[in-house]
């Protein structure tokens, strides 16, 4: 039911692991629902220079986390914010309809990490 690309990212997830001192963290999902995603970013001059993820969830949750990290690496924050769940799903050659919510989680985790970074930046100026 999963595409080869989903299986590839599930078997060999890119950018998986914890990050020391991230500039922004996005945490979404809930273990009760069976999906929980954490995305960590390093930002220099508004560019995402490094990104990592950790995920508790199904094959699609892991593959969408992995794919979103690949898509955002090296992008400016504004470019990264344009990445939607559909972009993530398409990059994986599609997801089963019942798993589309995993791509939404990936988008939300990314947005959460960027928001967190911007909030920290404002706070550090104050």
């Amino acid at each position: 039911m999963y595409s080869e690309k989903v299986m590839d990212h599930f078997r060999n997830p890119r950018n998986m692991g914890e990050m020391e001192n991230p500039d922004g963290v996005g945490k979404v999902g809930n273990p009760v629902c069976g999906d929980m995603m954490e995305l960590y970013i390093k930002v220099e001059n508004d560019v995402i220079t490094d990104v990592k993820f950790m995920t508790f969830g199904c094959g699609a949750a892991i593959a969408t986390s992995s794919m979103v990290t690949e898509l955002v690496k090296g992008k400016t924050l504004d470019e990264a914010l344009k990445i939607s769940n559909a972009t993530v799903a398409e990059a994986l050659d599609g997801l089963p309809p019942v798993k589309m919510h995993c791509s939404v989680l990936a988008e939300d985790a990314l947005k959460g990490a960027i928001e967190d970074y911007r909030k920290r930046k404002v706070e550090s100026k104050v």
Binding site: P31, G34, M36, T55, F56, G57, C58, G59, A60
Partner: protein, 395 residues
């Protein structure tokens, strides 16, 4: 890659002798069992022989066996048929929260038609509490439907006790024995069972065929209409190859039931001991002892079941999970939740179910592969990282 099939509660490989029987029927015995000439008589004989074998295995009389398309149809027919057939007495049905969806969804449909259904809870082992069942019976209760063993946990229900109570109170008793028929001894008279559902494909038989035992004298209404077959309770031309295949599967199961049960128990305990030794933070779902000898359901904390299934599949190992992510509904197993299992632990459950042909070598391969698979998924899990941090802090 060698494949290891450990999902026999979902379905089983067809036994070669059953396959031969089915093929022979398809090629040679095409007759309609309801006709008078030779072809029809030959087909009828195959159906009658199978009926006799099914009846004998549960201590029933052969005219009390109705052939159906499988467990789901048998459950639908039993619950709906008895509910409709006893409206004069009442509209109250007793069942449990851990039944198969074939019973649960039928009950829900009946509720919409004005029937009242009580869904009895289970204890932490997934076993019905008989006292609660006894107290829930009312004067207008017409049916008790409780499964013999649960398909997810393997926990065996106190069917004999329930049968005795049902008889005392004059309530019709149906039990879904899809997971136990041919695996453990069943006697409908000793256990006071009035209706009993059977499926062939859980017993190394073909798919699309099953049976419903209905005790003589039980009041029920047909839910399908058409021909005169199966005492008009289940009209339609007989599925002769399927029925003959079921007969053959029953014959094989009956020939070495005890021996096979003991073998499966050894295989199951070997896997359980191996997992317990090699993987921390696990829990057994189901009764520790009063459980089907072929079923082992374990939750692996901090990980999710679908990802475990996919990883194990890469090693050629086929198992099931109670995780929401493996179902189209995105709900975790209703059985594990009913037992008080928290959703995150239900999501991390795997069900291993064994059958004829599983070997100790296969189990040893699983014991080797599983810690790697669980370890890989835990290395990605933020829940596991948090757990390790807390553990470190408290140390």
């Amino acid at each position: 890659m060698k494949r290891i099939y450990l999902d026999h509660n979902a379905t089983t490989p067809v036994h070669p002798e059953v396959a031969d029987q089915v093929c022979r029927c398809l090629r040679e015995d095409f007759g309609n069992a309801g006709t008078l000439y030779s072809y029809g008589r030959e087909a009828k004989k195959l159906v009658d022989d199978a009926r006799e074998k099914v009846a004998t295995l549960i201590g029933a009389r052969k005219e009390e066996i109705l052939f159906t398309s499988g467990g789901t149809e048998s459950d639908n027919m039993a619950v709906r048929g008895v509910a409709y057939g006893n409206i004069n007495k009442g509209r109250h049905i007793l069942t449990s929260t851990i039944e198969h969806h074939a019973v649960l969804e039928t009950c829900k449909a009946l509720e919409k038609e004005g029937f009242e259904v009580a869904y009895l809870p289970v204890d932490e082992y997934g076993t019905i509490k008989v006292d609660e069942l006894k107290n829930a019976i009312r004067s207008d209760t017409t049916l008790i439907s409780i499964m013999h063993a649960n398909n997810e946990t393997g926990s065996i229900q106190p069917v004999s006790e329930i049968g005795r109570i049902a008889k005392e109170k004059g309530v019709t008793f149906h039990t879904d024995t899809v997971q136990t028929f041919g695996k453990i001894v069943i006697n409908v008279d000793e256990m006071n069972i009035d209706l009993l559902s059977i499926s062939a494909h859980k017993l190394h038989g073909p798919k699309g065929v099953g049976a419903l035992y209905v005790r003589k004298g039980v009041k029920m209404k047909p839910v399908m209409f058409g021909g005169h077959q199966e005492r008009k309770m289940r009209p339609g031309t007989h599925n002769v190859p399927g029925i003959a295949g079921l007969g053959k599967a029953v014959e094989i199961a009956a020939s070495d039931m005890e021996e096979e049960g003991e073998k499966l128990l050894r295989v199951r305990e070997r896997l359980w001991e191996g997992i317990k030794k090699n993987i921390p933070h696990i829990r057994l779902n189901g009764h520790p002892t009063v459980r089907l000898s072929n079923t082992l359901n374990i939750s692996f904390e901090f990980v999710e079941g679908e990802s475990l299934i996919l990883s194990l599949d890469d090693h050629g190992i086929c198992v099931a999970s109670g995780s929401a992510c493996t179902s189209d509904s995105l709900e975790p197993s209703h059985v594990l939740l009913a037992m008080g299992c928290v959703p995150e632990v239900a999501h991390g459950s795997l069900r291993f179910s064994f059958g004829r042909g599983n070997t100790e070598e296969e189990i040893d391969f699983v014991i080797q592969a599983l810690p790697k698979v669980v370890g890989r998924m835990r290395s990605m899990s933020p829940l596991y990282r948090e757990f390790l941090k807390k553990q470190k802090e408290s140390a």
